[in-house]
C-alpha cells in the first residue's frame, strides 16, 4: 500500500502547482462514474475451530471513473475498492484496483499507473500469471492493484509487453476471527524479506504473445522480482503463535500454449523458476470439449480436464502440486446470462478431494446473483495422539527444515530454549504447548496441504447491484 499512498501523494503535490494543473486537467474532465455494491453472505457448515462464527457477512463497494481525451488516444481509469467484513477485521481492506493512464500510439501503447494484468490459458490454475499479488481474503480470482509502467508493442511478430513493476504488494490473509484461515494465523504486520527481495524493489517482466498458426496461440514470458507467493516461518512463540510470511526473489520463464479446433481446446502452461530457495518447474495441461446447443436447446456444456504437476511435489507451497481437476460449465445462453459450473480436484497421492459449485444469473437488469459452494470431501488428517517428543522429532526430520537452513537452526534454538527454561520434563508434559506444537506439525506436514485449512465447507451468496 505504501506505493499507492506515495502515488496519491505525488498526484496531490502535482495538482498543487498550477502548471501541473493544466497537464492533469484532462484526467478530471468529461469523465463518467459508475459503481457497484455487493453484499456477500457465507454460511459455514461447522463452527470455526477457533470459535469463529458460522455466519459471515461482507460488503463490497467499488466505483469506476473513466475519461478519454485526445480523440480517444489518451484514457484514464480510476477504480477504488473497499471490502468490509463484519467478522474479520483483517479481511476489511481498501485497495486501488486501477488508476491507469493509457496513451495509445500507432503500434504501441504506454500504460502507467496501478493496474491488474492477466496472463494464462488454463482454468484451474494459472502458473504463468505473476504480475499481480492475490487478494487472497477477497476471493479466488481477485488481485491487488500493482503500480507499473507497461509498454506494449504491436508488431508483425506478435504483441510484446514490457513491464516495470514499481514496488511490491504483500498478500492479504484472513485474521484470527476469519474463516478459511490456517490454524496458526499469518502475521501480515511483520513480513520478512530476503536480502535480494524488498518491498521497494523494482521488478520487471516481459511477455511475447502471438498466434503460431490458425489454431495455436503462444505466450512466452519472463519475470524477475519478488515471488508473490510467500513462504512461512514460525515465530516460536507458544503464547502468541504466528506464521511469518517470507518473501523471496525469483526469476521465472513461462510458456503458454492453446490449441483450438472445432469444439476442442488443448491448453498448456509451464514455468521454470530459479529462486533464492530453490529451482523447480511446474506445468498444467488440459483438454476441453464443448457441446453446443445440447438436444436442440440453447444450452452449451464444456467439459474441462486438467492435470497439474510441480517438480517440488509435496514441498510446493500450494496444494495443486500433483492434482487432477475435472470441471463442467453450463451456459444457458438465456437473456439472464445464466451459467453454472462445478469443479472437482483430486490428488491421487494423498486422496485429497475438493468439490466446488458456482451459479450465476442476472435477476434484473442491474442486479446479479452469484452462489458458490465449496466442500472438502477428503482430507489427509494427521495423527493427533503424538506426544511432544514425537512431534518434535517429526519436526526436525521434516523436509521443510534442511540441516543447514535458518529455520532448522531456529527450531533447534527454540527447543533448547524451552528445555533450558522449564527442564527436559516439559517435552513429556502433554499439557504443555501440545496443541500449538500439533498445529505446527500439521503445517510442516507438506503432504497434506488441505488439512492446513480448517474444516470450512461453506455456501456463499452474493448479490451485486450496478449503477
Amino acid at each position: 500500500m505504501k506505493n499507492v499512498f506515495l502515488g496519491v501523494l505525488l498526484a496531490s503535490f502535482l495538482m498543487a502547482s498550477s502548471h501541473a494543473n493544466a497537464v492533469l486537467e484532462p484526467f478530471f474532465e468529461g469523465g463518467e462514474w459508475t459503481a457497484e455494491t455487493g453484499l456477500e453472505y457465507r454460511y459455514f457448515k461447522d463452527p470455526g475451530e477457533f470459535g469463529q462464527s458460522q455466519h459471515a457477512v461482507a460488503l463490497r463497494l467499488s466505483a469506476e471513473y473513466y475519461t478519454s481525451w485526445n480523440d480517444g488516444l489518451d484514457l484514464f481509469t480510476f477504480r477504488p475498492y473497499l471490502l468490509l467484513d463484519y467478522q474479520d477485521s483483517d479481511r476489511t481492506h481498501f485497495d486501488i484496483r486501477e488508476a491507469l493512464w493509457i496513451h495509445v500510439g500507432d503500434d504501441w501503447e504506454l500504460r502507467s499507473g496501478i493496474s491488474r494484468v492477466f496472463w494464462g490459458k488454463t482454468e484451474f490454475i494459472n502458473l504463468v500469471d505473476v504480475i499481480n499479488q492475490d487478494d487472497l481474503v477477497d476471493g479466488d480470482d481477485e488481485k491487488l492493484g500493482q503500480p507499473m509502467v507497461n509498454l506494449s508493442l504491436v508488431h508483425d511478430w506478435g504483441i510484446f509487453d514490457f513491464y516495470l513493476l514499481l514496488g511490491f504488494r504483500e498478500r492479504t490473509f484472513p485474521g484470527p476471527d476469519g474463516r478459511l484461515r490456517t490454524p496458526i494465523p499469518v502475521d501480515t504486520d511483520n513480513p520478512e524479506y530476503s536480502r535480494e527481495a524488498g518491498q521497494r524493489d523494482i521488478d520487471w517482466a516481459v511477455r511475447w504473445q502471438r498466434p503460431l498458426n490458425d489454431y495455436v496461440e503462444m505466450g512466452l514470458s519472463l519475470f524477475s522480482g519478488v515471488d508473490r507467493e510467500p513462504w512461512y516461518s514460525f515465530n516460536f512463540d507458544l503464547n502468541n503463535p504466528m506464521l511469518i510470511p517470507n518473501y523471496h526473489h525469483k526469476d521465472q520463464v513461462g510458456l503458454e500454449l492453446e490449441y483450438l479446433y472445432e469444439g476442442w481446446a488443448v491448453k498448456f502452461e509451464a514455468i521454470g523458476v530459479r529462486s533464492e530457495r530453490e529451482h523447480y518447474w511446474a506445468a498444467v495441461t488440459g483438454v476441453e470439449y464443448s457441446f453446443y446447443g445440447i438436444m436442440g436447446t440453447d444450452l452449451d456444456f464444456t467439459l474441462i480436464n486438467e492435470f497439474m504437476k510441480d517438480s517440488r511435489d509435496d514441498l510446493a507451497p500450494g496444494y495443486l502440486e500433483h492434482d487432477f481437476g475435472v470441471g463442467g460449465r453450463f451456459s444457458f445462453n438465456d437473456e439472464f446470462d445464466t451459467t453454472m459450473q462445478g469443479g472437482f480436484l483430486w490428488d491421487p497421492d494423498t486422496e485429497e478431494k475438493v468439490l466446488s459449485f458456482e451459479f450465476e444469473r442476472r435477476l434484473y437488469s442491474d442486479l446479479k446473483i452469484e452462489i458458490q459452494a465449496v466442500t472438502v470431501l477428503e482430507r489427509g488428517t494427521p495423527p493427533v495422539d503424538d506426544t511432544n517428543v514425537e512431534i518434535i522429532s517429526d519436526l526436525l526430520q521434516s523436509q521443510l527444515f534442511g540441516d543447514d537452513s535458518v529455520t532448522y537452526n531456529q527450531v533447534v534454538d527454540f527447543l533448547l530454549g524451552l528445555i533450558e527454561e522449564d527442564g527436559i520434563g516439559i517435552l513429556f508434559d502433554p499439557e504443555y504447548g501440545l496443541n500449538v506444537l500439533q498445529q505446527f506439525q500439521k503445517l510442516s506436514d507438506t503432504s497434506r496441504k488441505i488439512s492446513v485449512i480448517e474444516s470450512d465447507d461453506y455456501v456463499q451468496v452474493k448479490l451485486t447491484y450496478y449503477y
Partner: protein, 267 residues
C-alpha cells in the same frame, strides 16, 4: 473479390443487397442466385470503415423483457483479407466492457476473441459456436457475425413483390456444417439489392425465424443500412428488435483499432 466486408451486425444488414445485370444467355437458378449476392457484395465494397451504436430489445410474446446496448466498429479488409470488427457491450451493466473482436477470413474459420473485464482476460472463442443465441437474443452468432459470399451456395427461386418493392427471392444454403440452418429464403429488392426479409429454416427444415428490415438509409451516396431489424422466432414466440443509430462511415479507423490491445481498452 472481397468478402462482404461488413462487421457483424452491419454485415448482416448488408446481407441485404444486390443483383447482377440480367444475363443474355440462359442461366441456371444457382448461377442467378449467386450473381444476385455477388452484386450485393460489390455494391457494398469500399465502405472503408464504419461505426454505429446498437440497441437490442428482447421481447417475449407480450412485452419487452430486457435491453442490451452495444457499440460496433468495423474495418474493411484490404485485398484478400477479411473484415475486422469490434463490438463492446455497454449494458446490461454487469457485462459493461465485455468486448468481442472478430477477424474474418475467406477460406477458413474466423478468429474471435472475447474480453472479460472482471478478470482482465482475453479468451479465444471456438468458431463452432455458430448456432447459439447471441446474448440471449433471437439472433444467433452466425446471424450477427460477418458473412462472406463463400459461406453459402445460392439458388434463385422467383420474382415477387414484397411491400410494394420488386424483389428476387433467393434461397441460400450454409456451407458450414455447424450452421443452425438448412436454408435461408431471402427477399432482395431489385433496385438496391437490399435484403428486406429472410426466413430461416432449422436443421429439421422447419420454419424457425423470420427477419425483417426497416428504415433503410443511404450513406456516402452508396451504402444502404437499415435502422431497425426484427427477428421473430416462430417456435418460441419470442422476438428481438435491433436498432442502429449514429451510423458513420470513413471515420479513420485503422488495423491498430482491431487487435488484442484495443480489445482490452474498448469502450
Amino acid at each position: 473479390m472481397s468478402n462482404i466486408k461488413n462487421n457483424k451486425l452491419i454485415a448482416f444488414f448488408i446481407a441485404c443487397s444486390i443483383f447482377a445485370t440480367a444475363p443474355l444467355h440462359a442461366e441456371t437458378p444457382e448461377e442467378k442466385g449467386y450473381k444476385i449476392y455477388k452484386e450485393a457484395e460489390d455494391r457494398d465494397e469500399g465502405f472503408v470503415d464504419n461505426q454505429a451504436e446498437m440497441l437490442m430489445i428482447l421481447k417475449n410474446k407480450q412485452e419487452a423483457t430486457s435491453e442490451r446496448e452495444m457499440s460496433v466498429k468495423a474495418l474493411e479488409g484490404k485485398g484478400d483479407e477479411g473484415d475486422m470488427s469490434l463490438m463492446v457491450f455497454l449494458s446490461p451493466r454487469d457485462q459493461k466492457g465485455t468486448a468481442l473482436l472478430t477477424h474474418q477470413h475467406k477460406n477458413r474459420d474466423d478468429d474471435q476473441w472475447l474480453y472479460l473485464p472482471a478478470l482482465k482476460r482475453v479468451k479465444k472463442i471456438a468458431s463452432s459456436k455458430k448456432s447459439g443465441p447471441f446474448m440471449g437474443s433471437e439472433f444467433s452468432f452466425e446471424d450477427i457475425g460477418g458473412q462472406s459470399i463463400e459461406d453459402y451456395t445460392y439458388k434463385y427461386l422467383r420474382d415477387e413483390t414484397y411491400e410494394g418493392q420488386d424483389c428476387f427471392v433467393v434461397e441460400s444454403y450454409p456451407v458450414d456444417k455447424n450452421s443452425g440452418y438448412t436454408r435461408i429464403v431471402s427477399w432482395v429488392d431489385k433496385e438496391h439489392y437490399r435484403t428486406l426479409k429472410s426466413e430461416f429454416y432449422d436443421r429439421k427444415n422447419s420454419h424457425l425465424k423470420t427477419l425483417t428490415t426497416d428504415g433503410f438509409k443511404q450513406y456516402e451516396g452508396k451504402f444502404w443500412r437499415p435502422s431497425e431489424l426484427l427477428m421473430v422466432n416462430h417456435q418460441t414466440g419470442r422476438s428481438t428488435v435491433l436498432k442502429q443509430t449514429n451510423i458513420a462511415f470513413k471515420t479513420g479507423l485503422s488495423e491498430s483499432d482491431f487487435n488484442k490491445n484495443s480489445l482490452k481498452r474498448a469502450r
